[in-house]
């Protein structure tokens, strides 16, 4: 029997999925802003940040209310705790995207365009794909899809380390590019963090679906 308050649970799940879509979008806009030297996309990334923050607050509030008033158990209570944790991860993804957009704007203001995107592009492709897949695994309730995400995080971590070493090593040459290199190292780190949050999200989906 479905109870009259179960639609509140469905609302929370819908808000979480919406927040996931927005976090995906903000990540994509920030990364494309960097890769394509596109200031407009960077601005979109900035503009989405408030919406995502507001969704996190709403999800937290609704979940705490549901836990307090509806006495949920089993998969219902798992969904609520996952909603609270996952919304925090998604908010952090938006923060990282915001940080990427800010650094991109600095580079574009200073240099007009981003010259070297080769190091960032492959790792951002993986990290953003992990995010997309994490949200899809939540929507489709696909535990195997969620499990597949976990192992990909190591690849992103490795690429970030290589980026750091490569960019640090080049600091002795063409010193006028160093400030740009520092921004790129920080952008690489933000993308690596997006990968971490995607991995967390996948772990949360696995817990939601299996209780493990």
């Amino acid at each position: 029997m479905n109870r009259y308050f179960h639609n509140e649970l469905e609302d929370i799940r819908s808000k979480l999925i919406l927040m996931g879509e927005k976090a995906n979008q903000v990540g994509l806009m920030a990364v494309e802003g960097f890769l394509q030297s596109d200031l407009e996309k960077t601005e979109v990334a900035f503009s989405l940040d408030d919406t995502i923050d507001a969704l996190e607050v709403e999800i937290d509030r609704d979940a705490v209310r549901y836990i307090t008033l509806r006495a949920p158990v089993s998969s219902d209570v798992r969904l609520l705790f996952v909603a609270i944790k996952a919304s925090h991860d998604l908010e952090r993804v938006a923060d990282e995207a915001h940080s990427i957009a800010k650094k991109t704007r600095k580079i574009l203001t200073r240099n007009g365009r981003v010259d070297d995107t080769a190091l960032i592009e492959p790792m951002s492709n993986i990290a953003l794909d992990m995010m997309r897949e994490a949200i899809t695994s939540l929507v489709e309730e696909d535990v195997e899809k969620a499990r597949a995400i976990i192992s990909r995080d190591k690849e992103v971590d490795r690429m970030n380390l290589e980026n750091f070493e490569s960019l640090s090593a080049s600091m002795s040459k063409e010193a006028e590019l160093n400030s740009c290199r520092v921004e790129t190292i920080l952008i690489s780190k933000s993308i690596e963090r997006i990968g971490d949050h995607a991995k967390n999200l996948a772990g949360e989906v696995i817990y939601l679906l299996t209780g493990e």
Partner: protein, 261 residues
């Protein structure tokens, strides 16, 4: 204590002012002030002996049946009428303010007659009218589909949960405005309880409901506002989500979190 915000602009259906009540020399309720709003569910919670059932029974003067019960002071108005005024017809009042008890108490009659009884004693004889009311009330109590093929069977053969919903349907037959429920689910299993809670949620579209419950999860699930009573005093009255998520009074906090006593 501030009045809860929700529907604060609506005129309350029941207005209680400075209400004092005693059994003999023992005072049971002290200076109760509260408004109960139309088409909402208001829950009364509190430990045994706190006065919540006594207070509920004041709304349809059920306490008149107890010799030593007496009002010491204050008033209860329903739709602007003081229900303890000498001119109030108590039978009419109880038609207006229906009641469902802790233990289901169907008459030892058929399912049909349980519903039709209230109308029959009002003099309604038209079979078509009675049939319509019986069906309407059973539908409103989410019982029609379960009993429509055995309306002439004894009500005593129904399950406990069905009997309780039948009692609700019976209360609806005389078209009350207010429904009082005194621990209506305490004798029911979780599935029957869920059905009664669903019913309460549906009925509040048409009726004002006041429910006494010992089950705090139930108060959280079904009510719009909650009142916490202790030792005959109204300690806190607010929107249910405020009471359960952030009560203002430490005694309320202690009670709802199980740190009481």
């Amino acid at each position: 204590m501030s009045e809860p915000e929700k529907n604060a602009s609506l005129k309350p259906v029941i207005e209680i002012r400075d209400f004092d009540f005693a059994y003999g020399t023992s005072q049971a309720l002290y200076q109760i002030n509260m408004d109960i709003h139309e088409k909402e569910v208001t829950a009364f919670i509190g430990p045994s002996g706190c006065g919540k059932s006594t207070f509920l029974r004041c709304f349809n003067r059920m306490n008149d049946l107890i010799d030593i019960a007496r009002i010491i002071g204050g008033s209860i108005q329903i739709d602007g009428t003081d229900i303890y005024d000498d001119e109030v017809d108590v039978i009419e009042l109880r038609k207006h303010v229906g009641m469902v008890f802790q233990k289901s108490n169907p008459f030892p009659k058929s399912i049909y007659e349980n519903i039709a009884y209230g109308l029959r004693i009002q003099g309604v004889k038209n079979k078509k009218v009675l049939d319509e009311v019986v069906e309407d009330c059973l539908r409103s109590a989410a019982l029609w589909d379960e009993v429509k093929d055995r309306l002439n069977d004894s009500a005593l053969g129904m399950s406990g949960g069905q009997q309780q919903r039948l009692c609700i349907a019976r209360a609806l037959a005389v078209k009350p405005k207010i429904l009082l429920m005194d621990e209506p689910c305490s004798a029911l299993d979780p599935i029957a309880t869920a059905k009664v809670e669903e019913l309460i949620h549906e009925l509040k579209k048409e009726y004002t409901i006041v429910i006494v419950t010992h089950n705090m999860q139930q108060a959280g699930r079904v009510s719009d506002r909650t009142a916490f009573f202790y030792l005959g005093k109204l300690i806190e009255y607010d929107l249910t989500e405020n009471i359960f998520m952030n009560p203002s009074d430490p005694q309320t906090e202690a009670y709802i979190s199980g740190r009481f006593g």
